[in-house]
């Protein structure tokens, strides 16, 4: 049975946290835990979700949850899974919630190692496209053109000059049992991927776009709308990797305007028409490959 708002567990496992109003990361963590239930053991590395969830004595997880080192999400998941197994406990899910910096930059080695060993863990990267908790620095998942404190927009250089790393395909390239992309804007798609991943043995990786109003320069009420638009305009895609094959889950007939989408966000407002053309061209090149090579 697929996960819907109606059959989603009514318990709340991430409550009273201190995330900014409208935080996409907290929405991803909250609902993923509702799918996994009270036996989820969550690992949160340094980053916004640990910073807003554990402020002793305000401890906002109802299930077992622990902060890991910034680089060590996956290795701590490995240890938790092994420890529970050694104690004969079977009914649990070791789940990690790491940011884009914690995943694509500093934590990539531990993640790669865990996938290589095929440890039975679920790794969820909530991607807000910068190091938000330390004040919006560029990460390997910051998209081209985005303004951050370390990629400022000036007269000559218009924000980040590098494209976003493709973590989904990097995870898939390990021949991982299951990997998927999602966005908090299409919540039931995300939650069904979490549910599916929780039933697969071995390493699972889910990459969920989770807008940060503070870092993206959007109104706090627009998180969901923006994270739908990013899929609708083709700058993100909903896909899965399983049994060595990529599958595209949603193929938009027509893309909505990239320019309109970007201009709603403070971090992109400086972009010129030429910059936006570069973004559109790279989108089109990617979709040409997706439509040619992936199953639909």
């Amino acid at each position: 049975m697929s996960v819907t708002a109606n059959n989603l567990c009514r318990d709340e496992f991430f409550y009273g946290h201190k995330a900014c109003a409208g935080c996409g990361g907290s929405l991803a963590v909250r609902n993923a835990l509702k799918v996994l239930g009270k036996n989820a053991v969550a690992v949160l590395p340094a980053g916004c979700m640990s910073a807003v969830g554990f402020n002793f004595p305000q401890l906002c997880f109802a299930n077992n949850a622990i902060i890991s080192t910034f680089a060590g999400t996956a290795s701590m998941l490995t240890g938790i899974e092994a420890g529970f197994r050694a104690r004969g406990i079977k009914d649990f899910t070791a789940v990690g919630f790491a940011g884009d910096g914690g995943t694509a930059d500093i934590g990539i080695q531990a993640l790669s190692g865990a996938i290589d060993r095929n440890d039975n863990i679920l790794y969820i990267c909530y991607d807000n496209e910068a190091y938000m908790n330390t004040g919006i620095q560029k990460s390997g998942l910051t998209p081209f053109g985005a303004k951050t404190t370390t990629t400022p927009a000036g007269k000559n250089i218009h924000g980040n000059i590098r494209p976003k790393k493709n973590m989904f395909e990097i995870a898939a390239a390990h021949n991982i049992p299951y990997a998927a992309t999602a966005t908090v804007g299409y919540m039931t798609d995300f939650l069904n991927k979490v549910e599916k991943a929780s039933k697969i043995k071995g390493t699972k990786y889910i990459h969920v776009i989770a807008p940060c109003p503070t870092g993206w320069g959007i109104p706090v009420s627009d998180t969901v709308e923006i994270s739908r638009e990013i899929v609708d305009c083709g700058l993100w895609y909903l896909a899965e990797y399983e049994n060595g094959e990529f599958t595209l889950d949603h193929d938009p007939k027509e893309f909505t305007s990239v320019s309109d989408h970007l201009k709603k966000q403070g971090r992109f407002r400086h972009l010129t028409d030429e910059d936006i053309q570069i973004i559109i061209q790279s989108r089109d090149a990617k979709w040409e490959k997706i439509r040619r090579d992936w199953r639909k």
Binding site: A5, N6, L8, R10, D11, E12, F13, F14, Y15, G16, H17, K18, A19, C20, A21, G22, C23, G24, S26, L27, R30, N31, K38, F56, P57, Q58, L59, C60, F61, A62, N63, N64, A65, I66, I67, V184, M187, T188, P219, V220, S221, D222, T223, V224, E225
Partner: protein, 97 residues
């Protein structure tokens, strides 16, 4: 099951655990003071479709008797619920000082 506000809200230094473990879901402060606007549900209009519940980052909306109910102790007033509600059953109102 959900983290909830406790009676004991302050700890002396000696009581702070020296290892990293403590009771899960232990809340000592509300988030209500963050709000400048609050969502108000029009009970007549609400059809209990659960979309506001599904998309609330703070999990403060529950559905009781097929109607949305807000926990104002923890609502931060982001307004995502108002935007998501297709039938406009939610209005944002200014918080009184």
């Amino acid at each position: 099951m959900k983290p909830y506000l406790r009676e004991k809200t302050s700890f002396s230094f000696a009581e702070v655990p020296s290892d990293t473990s403590f009771e899960a879901g232990y809340l000592v402060s509300k988030n209500a003071g963050w709000r400048s606007i609050r969502p108000v549900i029009d009970i007549e209009k609400c059809v209990g479709c659960m979309q506001c519940y599904l998309y609330c980052p703070d999990g403060v909306i529950s559905i009781e008797n097929n109607k949305a109910v807000i926990d104002y102790d923890f609502c931060k007033g982001c307004g995502i619920c108002k935007k998501i509600c297709k039938i406009n059953a939610i209005e944002m109102e200014a918080e009184k000082k």
